[in-house]
Symmetry: C2
Subunit: 334 residues, 2 copies
């Protein structure tokens, strides 16, 4: 029997090429080896976007389309939406008793995020508790493997702590511990050279971006600020265009020659950027073809997600039943 993997994302914006190289590319491979569940974490997204629910609404199906675009196969993967699986909220409720407030406050991932988001003294309780909600997500599907970045490891530690505590207190083995799937992911810098590509920094290239948009974004990329005239020698290291070419250009010989030429001088940024534009468009073109097919047939997408929701609910219901039995809340079906 295949092991279960749970993955997904917060639907706070369309997915970009940073997501693609950082996780989607792996996800597409993993669906062949694992029983794959892909969750659109809309409720989790609400924990720090509760004042802007429209952002979540607008992006749930956008991100699902992005998943389908890059090669997620609904026959292999179960695509579902967190808020459509109410069993998760009940599990969350029981798990909340098994973790202390101070333990949640010491979680390094959460501490960092609280600082980043500038919550200061106004941390929403839902946000502080989201690792417990993630524990519900993971355990509901008995996921044994969860792909994460190493900054997310404390979340899985927290989940496994709750699992062990639950199983011990309620004398059961119905919950499973999970393992992190850490892969050598490529962290793609933003088009402005910033270490992080993110919607809020406006330095993204979306999977769905049209050729015109891609061209405009690449053409405005920074290169080497001292490379002013074509004949000036230029730097390759830290040059965003070359960072991107390293990822998109499969012709490593030609790319090596271009680098040499750039360093010596005599290669203009515009020529380089055109090359990159063509490569990105070529890479995204097959994704966008699939994406367009789906987005022109949203009934099919709704059907895929409804089937996914139903499958996810069935499994989560079964886990919830075991959890309720272990606690002893099955008053009527003894």
């Amino acid at each position: 029997m295949k092991k279960v993997i749970l993955t997904g994302e917060r639907p706070t914006g369309p997915l970009h090429i940073g997501h693609y190289f950082g996780s989607l590319i792996n996800r597409v491979k993993l669906q062949n080896e694992y029983e794959t569940f892909i969750m659109s974490a809309d409720m989790q997204a609400l924990t720090d976007n509760f004042e802007n629910p429209k952002k979540i609404q607008d992006n749930v199906f956008e991100t699902i389309l992005d998943n389908l675009a890059v090669g997620i196969d609904p026959k292999k993967s179960t695509l579902f939406i967190q808020s459509q699986i109410p069993e998760l909220t009940e599990l969350f409720n029981y798990y909340l008793n098994l973790v202390t407030v101070s333990r949640l406050e010491r979680n390094p991932t959460i501490k960092t995020e609280i600082a980043q988001k500038g919550f200061e003294e106004s941390v929403p309780a839902g946000f502080l508790c989201y690792p417990v909600s993630q524990t519900a997500d993971i355990t509901a599907f008995k996921a044994e493997v969860v792909p994460v970045g190493d900054d997310q490891l404390p979340i899985l530690e927290q989940a496994n702590e709750i699992v062990r505590r639950f199983n011990r207190i309620y004398k059961t083995d119905c919950l499973k511990e999970c393992q992190a799937y850490l892969s050598n992911v490529t962290r793609l810098v933003g088009t402005d050279g910033n270490a992080k590509m993110s919607k809020s920094l406006g330095n993204t290239i979306y999977i769905k971006d049209t050729p015109d948009v891609i061209k405009q974004k690449v053409m405005s990329m920074y290169t080497d600020p001292n490379h002013i005239k074509v004949e000036d020698p230029g730097k390759v290291e830290g040059n965003t265009v070359f960072t991107y070419l390293d990822i998109f250009d499969t012709n490593k010989n030609e790319l090596g020659e271009l680098k040499n030429q750039y360093k010596k001088g005599g290669l203009g940024d515009v020529k380089l950027k055109r090359r990159l534009v063509d490569l990105i468009i070529a890479k995204l073109e097959p994704f966008q073809k699939v994406r367009n097919e789906y987005s022109n047939n949203m009934d099919e997408v709704y059907k895929i997600v409804k089937i996914g929701n139903e499958k996810a609910r069935n499994i989560a219901s079964q886990t919830l039943k075991e959890v309720r039995e272990a606690i002893g809340l099955n008053y009527f079906d003894k």
Copy 2:
């Protein structure tokens, strides 16, 4: 249309005469004036009894029987069990985003309870958040009135804060603010004279206590420690037996005479206690008759609660539907 009232208790032990004079006596009256929902708060009880779920299991139907015993009429009141209404956990989840951790930590009721329970640095997250869970309970049934002691007022303030914030952020009026129903309740001291009657102090007389048990408990009551011989003059104030007689003895003339006699000397504790024993037995006898009828016919009790659960679920589902629509999570039924 009758206003909705939500009340109930944590099923952590059978109900005693302190509960009767403190709340049940009112509850029985209120069911004639209000659309009454009585919740067995088993999930709330788990927040500080999660390591002892058996205690909750054992007492859910005990406390429901106690309610029926004292005159709760299933035709007038909806009796239901919190954990059987999963919609409450989903509401709880959404409301958690609308309150900050520091706001929860400042709640005076919770602060006092945390100190009383000796949680210190190990406050379970579920416990800190239980006022948010209560907000879910109250709003799910659109309760306008909640009977509470004045020590519980901060919980209702918290609930109304969440209601206002939800309605403002999500541009809706689907949630209703509630009012406290503060009544002049009689706080019955324990059989040991302690201000609080509680199971953990072992100073209770349960509604279901048999005549023998009542006799044994009353006979071991403290009176006036200086009233040793029958002919000694004794104190009436602070004398637990008289405190109880003030409540149970409807013949105020005779009671007045007994007090005078006691003060002068010449009235023995045993005679007094026998009078009290008879009065308590007489008071509880009709309750116990009803209780026995129900407990000999548990199928009927299960039926009452199943009907109550179903009614409660229908109403909570409707509220949840409105809440989900307001947030915008109704992706499929637009």
